[in-house]
Each structure stands twice: as C-alpha cells, then as structure tokens.
Symmetry: C2
Subunit: 324 residues, 2 copies
C-alpha cells in the first residue's frame, strides 16, 4: 500500500509539471489561476487510493485522477458565476478577477481538458470509465440545478437537500473511487462497493462543510462563520431546524433567516442560537457520523485484505474531525 503522502505528492507533482498554459493567454491564464489555487485535491487522491486499494498501478490512474480535479474546478468556475460568489479558498473567484465571459469560456475549456485526461486511459477500460464520467458529470449539473431551484422553492425538505448534495458533490467522490477500482481491474461488484463508500463519504464531507460554516472554529476554518446564513442558503442545518421549530421558535427562525435589516454578525448569532436551542449541532453531527459509518460498512464489504484499507479508513476518520 502506498502512503497517502506519496500519493498526494504524485498528484501535486503531476499538476505542477502539467503545463496548462497555451495561447490565447486570455483563455488559459484563468485556468492556470484556478488550478494553481486548487484545494485539497481530494478527488484525484480518491482515484489513486481506489486504485491502490485493489493493488493497481497508480501511474495508470494518474491521468483520470487529474481529470476529476480539473472537472471539479470547472464546475466551481461556473457555479461561482451562478452563485455570485466573490471568494473561493480565500482568493477572488475567476469571474470576479476576470469577468463572466472568461469564467464561462475558460470553464468550458477546462471541461474539455478533463475529457482529454479521461481519454488518456487504457483503451480496454476507456468505455467504462467514460460512461461513468459522463453519468457523473450529468448528475453534477442536475445537482447544481436543484441547488439553484431550492433558492426560490418554498417547500424543501432535508431529504431533498441530501438528494441535492448527493448529485452535486457526493457522486463525484463516488466516481473517483470507482474509477480507481476499475483501473485496478477490480470486479464489478467490488467497484460498486468502492462507489458506495465514496458516495457516503461525499455526503458526510458536504454535511461537515455545512456544520463547520456555523459551528466551526473561525480561526481554523479560514473564513468568517455563518456564510451560509448570510446568503440564506437552505442547508441541512436550516432545513432540519425548520422541521423541528415550533410556534415562537419557528417565527424567530424564519424572521431572522430572511432579515435583511440587521447587521450580518447579529443575524448569524441569532440563527446560531436557535440552532443550538434545537440541538441542530448534535443532530448534524449524528447525520455526518451515520453517513461515515455507512461508508465504512461498504469498505468493510470490499473483499480485500484489511491492511490495504487502512489509508481509506484514516482518510474517512479525518473527515469527521477536520476543522477546515
């Protein structure tokens, strides 16, 4: 089994030496900017770990791994336009730094680049990898649409929300795991288990993000708390609160949530206090743990030696305790 540090370094080196810059510079400079500012690179890591889990050659998985990261960053370019998000990982988003047209077209080009890396896959498994990637990309688009719909939909349940983040976030982590497994030559029933591990991990990951946004430690989180509350995002936390709140609390919750008058920190403090009163903190932690447990159960099911699973177990545990 390869250590996570080695896999992470392999990915970072591949990105550092890839040379994404071409002509015209107006098109490729934003791409370099986006990929240089890339975050944890969790998706390519899952491809390599999924491949390594089944004893595959990680060098054969490196290009598809890069495809996942480039695809993910393409979706961020377009999502940030749609969500009017000014910042991403502490830096200006592409559409803010450049302009909307640039973010659209450089995004499209990154989407092509993702497919270029997918195409550099062993031809024997290419049809399966391509089909999986297509299915996933389409689901991610659908997830983003549901996310936008929910901004204006009155009746959204926390189940709707889970279904939305499954599409928008979790399936790409699932796809990454399964891609690695396919490349390692794992049989279909095993690749499916890898997929389910990734999907549940993805759900836990996104819920952890939502939780950190309200209950995190802002000095470690790297940004102000309550961003989702300020932008009226109907997260799991808000939807769960909405379902549990009664009478006065329900009125206070909705009034404060749609309050446009008060200073933002006051709004955040009031909503956070209602969340605590309704025990949304613990409820969300339980939900996270539940998805993580499900994910780990799928990992248990995988028919391979326990020693090969250590890295993924560690990664999953870290997700539950991460603070940024």
């Amino acid at each position: 089994m390869q250590s996570r540090q080695i896999l992470q370094k392999t990915i970072d080196d591949a990105f550092a030496s890839a040379g994404f810059f071409h002509n015209p510079p107006e098109l490729y400079e934003p791409i370099e900017y986006a990929l240089r500012n890339s975050g944890k690179r969790l998706r390519p890591l899952l491809v390599l770990m999924g491949c390594d889990l089944f004893g595959g050659d990680i060098n054969e998985a490196l290009y598809p791994a890069m495809a996942m990261e480039i695809f993910h960053n393409f979706t961020l370019l377009h999502d940030d336009i749609m969500d009017r998000a000014p910042l991403r990982r502490g830096k200006e988003t592409v559409y803010k730094k450049f302009d909307i047209n640039t973010a659209i077209l450089s995004g499209d080009t990154m989407f092509v680049m993702a497919y270029e890396y997918i195409a550099r896959t062993n031809p024997i498994v290419l049809p399966r990898i391509l089909e999986l990637f297509n299915d996933t990309a389409r689901m991610v688009c659908e997830g983003q649409q549901y996310d936008m719909n929910y901004e204006t939909t009155v009746q959204v349940t926390h189940e709707d929300y889970i279904q939305m983040i499954r599409l928008k976030t979790a399936v790409l982590l699932a796809c990454s795991m399964k891609t690695g497994a396919i490349l390692a030559g794992a049989p279909p029933e095993e690749t499916e288990k890898a997929y389910m591990f990734g999907e549940n991990l993805g759900l836990a990951f996104q819920l952890q993000d939502d939780w950190l946004d309200v209950f995190g430690d802002s000095s470690k989180f790297g940004k102000e708390l309550g961003g989702d509350i300020i932008t009226n995002k109907k997260t799991f936390l808000y939807l769960k609160a909405l379902e549990l709140a009664r009478e006065d609390t329900l009125i206070r919750l909705t009034q404060n949530f749609y309050d446009k008058e008060s200073p933002e920190p006051e709004k955040v403090a009031r909503i956070t206090s209602i969340y605590r009163q309704l025990k949304i903190d613990e409820l969300t932690r339980k939900e996270i743990e539940q998805y993580l447990r499900k994910g780990l159960q799928w990992l248990d099911e995988i028919n391979i030696g326990e020693d090969r699973k250590t890295g993924l177990r560690e990664l999953a545990r870290e997700m539950l305790t991460r603070e940024k």
Copy 2:
C-alpha cells in the same frame, strides 16, 4: 450511396425520437428548446456523408453525428451569452428567454450529452473519435476567445480572421467529416483528406455567412441585412476593406464603422456603399470560391469511386449559391 434526403431524414428522426427531457425541468426545458430550434443540421449530415463516402454503415455513425449537433448547439448557448445576442434563427436565445445561469448550466449539460453520444461509438474506434472530438472542442473554445479578443484588438488582419473562423467554425465541420470516415474504416491518409475537405468547406461556409449578411437578399436571408455592421463585427469584409481603403475612403470607413449617432439603416447603407466601391463584394466571393475549390481538390484526392462523391460535391456547390 445514400441520398441526402434520406440521410437528413435519418438525422431528423433521430432527434425527434431522442427524448432529451428529464428532471429537473428547469435544466432540460432549455435544452429541448435549443435542439428543437436546431438549424440545418449540417454537422451530423457531414458525419453521415463522410461515413457513406467510404461505404460505411450510417447507423453506426448516427450517435457521433448527433454528438456534433448537440456540441454545436451547446457552443451557441454559451456564445450567445458572451456576444449578448438576443436572437438565434429568428427566436429568442436561451439566455434571453430564460436567464444567463440557465444558459450556462443547460449548456454544460448539453456538452455532457454530446460526450454521451460520442461514448456510444464502436469501442474499437472510440479512442480515435474521442481524441479528435476533444482536440476539436478545445480549438472551438480557442476560436471563440480569439473572436472576443478581436472585439477590442486594434490591429486585426484578415489572415487573423481566417485563423479565428478556422478554429471557431471550420474545424467542427472537418471533425464531422473525419469522424464519419473513421467510422467507415477509412485509412488514416484518407480520413485526413476528408478532414481537409471539411475544413475548407467550413471556411467557405463562414465567409458566405459574412457575405450574405451584407450582400444577401434580405427577403430570403430571413433577417435584416447588416447585422455584423451594426454590431461592429470585424468580419473578413471589414478587415479586407480596412486593408484596401486609402485616405478619404479609409476615414469614411472607420468613421462610419464606429458611428453611434446615425440611424442603423444609414450606417449599414454607408458601409455597404464603401464595400462596393472597394469591390469587397467580388473579393469575398473569390475568397469563398478559393476555399471551396481547395475543399473540392481534397475531395478529388480521396481514393474512392467518383460516383460516391456526388452528394458531397452537390452540397459544396449549394453552399456557394445558398441565400440563407
């Protein structure tokens, strides 16, 4: 050889029965709208004709053919945002009818759908088809970037313009022809000739578009003449005029081109008159004929019976004489 009518009908039937609609409707309704309002469907026709030219089975080429049309329409969704174009084929553009976010995300989904149709290709040739499609998609993005750059670049030559339309328009026609040829099992040197035929046809096609916009018959063209002049588009016609005009004519040309005061019909009439004075009409026709001739020379070179080439020869000739 299959008649063009049969090939066209095969394509239209395939689109009519494809069922592009899924959930959520906010995502897929604009896609249906865009694909229903689809134009001549020249690109899928070229895939089928390219396949038929080499005696291939057009049923094997139908999905990749659809991919080209869906990809083309995806680029229109995004281009229309970037170009702020209100109308497309006499109807509201997607971003006007819906909104910018919808045009971005439905466009992205169409891009995925194009790849889904590409993926439904015989696995033996899939790697070649996918690589060609990726190369082409990237060039189309680069072409759009050059097109946008030229809006603000002072020094653009007519050669720059040709290079831009080669990327933005011609390579997709070339890719369509070559895809058909590959699917028919044509040898590499023959598929390359098919590509060059398509590329030159594409250049002639775009120049004909530019010519029709100024010198067409507006009753047949289906829209008002002079759209490119009104929007200050630096077409082949304008760039050629700029290179040929001297002294007074040059001053009149640039003054009228950047005139924001006069009523639009007056501006169009003045620029058209300068074009006629500089014989831009004939010069552009000669340029179109030159590319068409080059294209037909590549068709001559293809090592296949003359009788199989009739359809493509006819299509190419029609392009030179089309009025809309």
